[in-house]
C-alpha cells in the first residue's frame, strides 16, 4: 500500500527523495520504495524519517485496521 502521507510530508518540507534519504542516512531507492509501499521499514527507520520531517509515527505510518 502506497504511503501518500510520507510523500506529502516530504513535499511539505520541499525535499526530494534523495535529500530526505541523505537526511535519514539511507539510499534514495529506500525512500522511493517506502513511498510506493514496496518496502516495510523498521521502527528505527520510521522514527528517523519522522524526526527528519518533524512528524509523529501516527502522522506518517498509521494505517487503520481492515
Amino acid at each position: 500500500m502506497k504511503n501518500i502521507k510520507l510523500k506529502m510530508a516530504r513535499v511539505e518540507h520541499d525535499l526530494s527523495q534523495a535529500e530526505l534519504a541523505e537526511l535519514v542516512g539511507v539510499s534514495r531507492q529506500t525512500i522511493g520504495l517506502i513511498e510506493l509501499g514496496k518496502y516495510n521499514p523498521t521502527l528505527n527507520l520510521c522514527l528517523a524519517i519522522c524526526h527528519a520531517l518533524g512528524k509523529t509515527l501516527d502522522d506518517l505510518f498509521w494505517v487503520d485496521p481492515e
Binding site: 539510499s27 522511493g32 520504495l33 514496496k38
Partner: protein, 178 residues
C-alpha cells in the same frame, strides 16, 4: 468471529535472525572453500583441477550475489551510500585499485622472471623490463575493464532495474520534489 482468521503478522525477529544466520553461513562457506583451495594448492602441492570445485563455488556465489544485487537494485544503492560517506568515490577507488593491482602483478612477474631465468645483472634488468612491461600491458587493461568498466556497467543496470521498480507508480512519483 475472528477466531479462525490467520494473523497476517510474521515474526520479524525470527525472519531477521534466520537471515543473519544465512549471511554467516555464506561467509563460513566462502572461508572454508578458500582455506581448502589454499591448503590443497600450496600445502599439498596439488594441481588446479583438484581445487576446481572450490573455485567454482567461490566464483558462482560471487556472480550470483552480483547478479541479484543488480537485478534488485541494491548495487546502485550501495554505491550511492558509499559515495556519500566516503571522500573517495567507488569509481575512483576501483580505478586506483586496478592500477595498483596491474602494477603489482607486473612487478611480481618482472622480478620473478629476472630472478629465475636471467644470468647476470644486465640480463636480469632486461628480463625484468620486458616481462614487467608485457605484464603491465596485459593486466592493467584487464583490471581496468573488470573493475572500473564492470562496476560502471553493473551500476547502470542496477539503476535501470531500480528505476523500473520505482516507475510502477501511477502517480508518476519520482525523485522530484512535487
Amino acid at each position: 468471529m475472528g477466531f479462525f482468521k490467520k494473523s497476517q503478522v510474521k515474526d520479524e525477529w525470527v525472519i531477521n535472525t534466520r537471515n543473519k544466520i544465512y549471511a554467516e553461513v555464506y561467509v563460513l562457506v566462502v572461508v572454508l572453500c578458500s582455506i581448502s583451495a589454499i591448503v590443497k594448492y600450496f600445502v599439498y602441492d596439488l594441481n588446479m583441477e583438484h581445487v576446481l570445485t572450490e573455485l567454482i563455488i567461490l566464483i558462482t556465489v560471487g556472480i550470483y550475489y552480483l547478479y541479484r544485487s543488480i537485478r534488485l537494485g541494491i548495487f546502485s544503492a550501495e554505491v550511492e551510500l558509499h559515495d556519500r560517506k566516503n571522500k573517495w568515490s567507488m569509481q575512483k577507488k576501483n580505478l586506483f585499485m586496478s592500477v595498483g593491482l596491474g602494477i603489482g602483478i607486473a612487478l611480481f612477474m618482472g622480478i620473478n622472471s629476472s630472478v629465475r631465468y636471467a644470468d647476470g645483472v644486465q640480463q636480469s634488468i632486461y628480463y625484468f623490463l620486458i616481462t614487467g612491461f608485457g605484464s603491465l600491458m596485459i593486466y592493467l587493461p584487464f583490471f581496468v575493464v573488470i573493475l572500473v568498466a564492470g562496476n560502471e556497467m553493473a551500476k547502470r543496470n542496477s539503476d535501470r532495474a531500480m528505476n523500473k521498480m520505482l516507475d510502477n507508480d501511477e502517480f508518476g512519483d519520482d525523485d522530484e520534489k512535487h
